[in-house]
Amino acid sequence: MQQPRTLPTLFQSSLPSHSVHSGEGLEPYRLDGLIPEVALSPKDEEQVASILSICHAEGLAVVPWGGGTRMGLGNAPARYDVALLLTGLNRVLEYQPEDLTTTVQAGLTLATLDAELRKEGQFLPLDPVGYDRTTLGGVQASAASGPLRHRYGTARDQTIGIRVVHADGTITKAGGKVVKNVTGYDMNKLYIGSLGTLGIIVEASLKVMPLPASEGALLAFFPSIETAGEAALGVMGTSLDTAFLSLVAGEAVHELPGGRSVDGAAALAVGAFGQAAPIARVLRDATAICNRNGAAEVATVSSNEVTNLRRVLAEAPRGGSTTLMARLGVRPESVAGLIQSMAELSNKYSFNFGAVAHISHGIVHSGWTGKEGLMEAQRQATFIEEARDVARAEGGYLVLESAPPGVRALVDSWGDARGGQALMSNLKQQFDPTGVLNPGRFVGGI
Amino acid sequence: MTQKERMLTASDFMGAEAPSEDDLYKCVHCGLCLNVCPTYLETGLETESPRGRIYLMRAVNEGRVKITEAVNSHWSLCLECRACEVACPSGVPYGHMMELTRTQALRRQPGSFSTRLFRWITFRQLLPHQGRLVLLARLARIYQRSGLKSLVSRSKALRLLPGNVDMLHDNQPTIPAEIFGPSSAVYPALGERKGRVALLSGCIMPLIYTDAMNATVRVLQHNGYDVVVPMGQGCCGALNAHAGVRDEARAMAKRNIDAFLAYEPDAIIVNSAGCGSTMKEYTLLIEEGSPYAEKAERFVALVKDVNEFLVTLPFQEGLGEIKARVTYQDPCHLAHAQRITKAPRELLKTIPGVELVEMEEASVCCGAAGSYSVTQQAFSQRLMKRKTAHLAEAGADVVATANPGCLIQLQTALNNADLPGRVCHVVELLDESYRAGVSSE
């Protein structure tokens, strides 16, 4: 055990005192029952670098924090000495609208960045849960995504360059600031989704898009998950240019606009961006497909409500009282079946279940709540293991994104890496041999 | 002496009949030719690709390697289908370079006694002498009809001989009773007379594909042309040229130039793709400064493949119905050497009842490639097998093509695989349709 008062003093020479937090103020940075000895809020990458070089030299374990919106992802840290708060790195460094690119610091929130871009009629098509608070770096580290991944992909597709501070404080960059680049290894891909275990993202260059002329969407409600799934695959099997295609099931249906009053097991949200004529065509054809598949009701979402709908689709499975959250992945055609199985399993456990799936990518965001007596940790852990087996049987996986500490202690957040665990461990060994960065939190104990 | 000159003096390429340096260095090694080359498609080996073969030519030219047996084997495996020429953005005249290269290779790698004997007989003693070919054909017909052929086949005696003699024997095309050939006759135009054309009789076509020859004559008549089959003509020399026996090919070219120009036809019609492509390139065969150079140019301007010729006319479309699923195999020397792919399909589509289906790799060589099926039997078989799979998939009643080598090879492919359907020349099908139309009127 370190001596509580000496640790903060290590950083006094490299950070102003208001950037070093200790004592009482550390409670918000509690993770799985662990509280760090110091929380540091650097203002620029040099400060991040000097912090890490100190931690490296002193053998301290660092947990990076962005907006703190997805800290439930990953296992409990093996060690936790320093909370590294990155929201101070929040500047837009370069923005040339005509180039459709921007370079920003990683602690900038998506909402702030988006506001800047909208001034120029552009946007960043990343819309994961927690849009208001989540930072770009956090989205990248966790590879979070939302409904728009259907058309625009994820952070992996939008990021063209990255600056990283390594475990020993070295700063390196990869990629560039232009939209096309194959010079050197594509390190962006390695850092994105690595949960800060290889390096801390401090800056990123991004591709941005012109704002669509308008947005349109429809919501179709179905009597069963199966029929909604058929309709979704039906839309996916056409050449319709859809911006999002999300299958909603269980409790999440009630979060949808108009969803309260509908007695449906599932819904399908279909969105389109662009000029009026193509949007009309998408909605017309999608309506026909939904009707053919037995939709109980198809409602057109008014143009100015589409953004809100997208927000709901990102947030729905994680409503207020949700205790368990998970991301499941399967092939698109298995999505509806998986959700159905999840619903049945949840029923068996008397858990309330809601899900939103971005079906073309086979990503299912799920959330569960339950009555007090039914939610003991062991029961939840058993449930998760069972759910994970169901996903595996479909060739998929389950990643736990949020659960009470008691549950997290009983069940691994990630499950197995599907391939290349040895390579992943080698990478960690190369980049962070002494375990400075988020030790123990990643796949396979990395 | 500079290094380059030293290299040049060490080159195995000698004399004027070698690929020119200008041509050799037109290849920028981009590789766009790879995926259309049948031997590369089959092997995946750069050495069996056009780019690889050109690279070897360059290496020989620069004196980096000699024309060894291995080097020659890669050139020999080339079908000269010239699919690479179509794919080449730099305009490398590959076919011409390969012919010149083979002439060079013959000097350095003359081959075994039996190879040389085969070459001597085929290219010097048979092809230039149509009379001898006719005689052979008549003997073959007697052999086939006497029951001796089936006896030999059944005895399996030929399996004792090396190579695929037994297979070649069993698959020999049936020689018809009537043999086509040059004559002084004029086959008169039917209906309104538009002009006069001279038809190449050639070497193999008139012996085995009499029907196709007669059909060609009738189709041309039907389209308003007097047809002559000029006396004094002979084999076009294509096989000789491809094999590198350019002197003999040249003599044969000159003979044909004289024979055809004497008739002053409006066009010289060829129904055999290989012959047409060579005849369109007679100018490349004739030595510079030869009195034949000018005549060759006039000759070349007149040469037309029968498919090509017909579609430039307001041609008579198919008349009578032929209910059949038809697939078309592009003869290499029509599709690649002459760049004619649409004309035959256009003709076929006009026949009522014909459903034209495209098979996979329709423009990839079937493995016949002139004398290739004899000189490179094993590889020819490999390509035939590949073709057979595509034929089976297409499931056509009729396989149409426009070259004798392809006709033989495709029929053999169908026979060997017990696939239904027949193989015929595009013009035969058109002729059939004309006749069906006339008889139903």
Binding site: E98, D99, G121, A143, T170, I171, T172, A174, G176, K177, V178, V179, K180, N181, V182, T183, Y185, D186, M187, N188, K189, L190, G193, G237, S239, L240, D241, Q275, A277, P278, A280, V282, R327, G329, R331, G395, G396, Y397, V399, W414, L423, N426, Q430, F431 | Y25, V28, G31, L32, N35, Y40, T43, G44, G52, Y55, A59, E62, V65, K66, A70, S90
Partner: protein
Amino acid sequence: MKNSSDLVKQLKAIVGDEYVVHLPEDLLVFERDGSPENEVPRLVVLPDTTAQVSQVMRLAYENGIPVVPRGAGTGLSGGAVPQSVSILMPLSRMRRVLDVDVTNRTAVVEPGVVNLDLSHYTEKYGLHYVPDPSSQKACTIGGNVGENAGGPHCLAYGVTTNHVLGLELVLADGTIVEVGGDVRDAPGYDLTGTVVGSEGTLAVATKITVRLMPLPEAVKTFLAVYDDMDTACSAVTMLIGKGLVPAALEMLDNLTIQAVEPYVHAGYPLDAGAVLLVELDGMDETVKVESDLVGNLLAESGAREVRRAETEEERQLLWAGRKGAFGAFGRIAPNYYLLDGVVPRTRLLEALRYATDLCAERGLGLANVFHAGDGNLHPIILFDERQPGKLELAMRAGGDILKKCVELGGVLSGEHGVGLEKLAYMPLMFTPEDMKAMLKVREAFGNDGLLNPDKVFPKEGEVAEYIPQSAAVLNAGTGSYI
């Protein structure tokens, strides 16, 4: 090290006699890919299955022999050029499409499948594989994965890495590993994304899971003819600035037109200063609306003529000129040096002017044919090596142009890769620390200098210094560069 005849025997036992190349005259044929660099390999081996790849690599690894993987050998940066000590391993025999999953819109292919063949194969399902390098008729998906290949249609739809979902890999020591797959975002590092574009230095991909996209309902292609390059460049900036992201936006300058027009007869006016190819695709309604918009914008952009391809045949013809451009330079100059720099789209004109002035000043020809929409330049320096000093001059000019690209905020390579060709320029973009981080990845994949060695990263000691020409090119023999 084993003697060669033993090695040949063992390799033949793995892949079959026909597929081990060991005669000196045969090996010579494998000394080059599509680039200027060349070196004759020790042996060439063509495996047919993953198991064979693994066995070959294990054998090589145990004997300390480097292996250089190769697709069709159409690469332009020397990524598949072997060393005299190496085994060159083309994957051209592994050309089977293993699976097409129509519902999930994915396909699993072997690395030797030719790019365009895949799209032809999936056409019957109404699907295609989007990245379309100019060499797509010959280049392989495996090679595309190695180089993270681009192509004209990558402007709207992304490059290879955006379309590859999973890989079966063979590591330097022969270990077989599967990463990624048709189930997305699986737990763990994005090893698929890390390997794509690593130029065959991390692993050999033996199976590739790709994403397929629906064939567009409608395609509209415009050819805008300009009197000069400046006007054409401003048109590009204007189109992008209007929020349009066409499927493709390609430019050809006058010299390129001179080279390709006699070959394709695409109808490019020989006296045009530049032509711009603009392609829109997607739903009928989208294309209709956008083509009216683009038609008007082009008309106002100072184009002296705007044509639309009315038929598929006309469209193919317009594209034939673009896709065959590089090969066609053989018709106007005996040698050329092709660059691949990228600049921000707003700096296109600046970069082009710099290159034009520089080449004019030094008596070199310069043609430009490039992906204008994403700022990916392809300056082509034309010269005749028989004129003394021209080769060196051309190489130096190339270096200077790349340097300028980096100064303008760009990068060395947009789609061709670093390979051997741009090794010396890497320090222009990356610090020694940047490169060390990348080399850690190579270490992690267990490449002890035995998998495509001496590529991408300059050797230590050479790292700090910018060398203004590629030494390998300068040392090359007659005709050994393009």
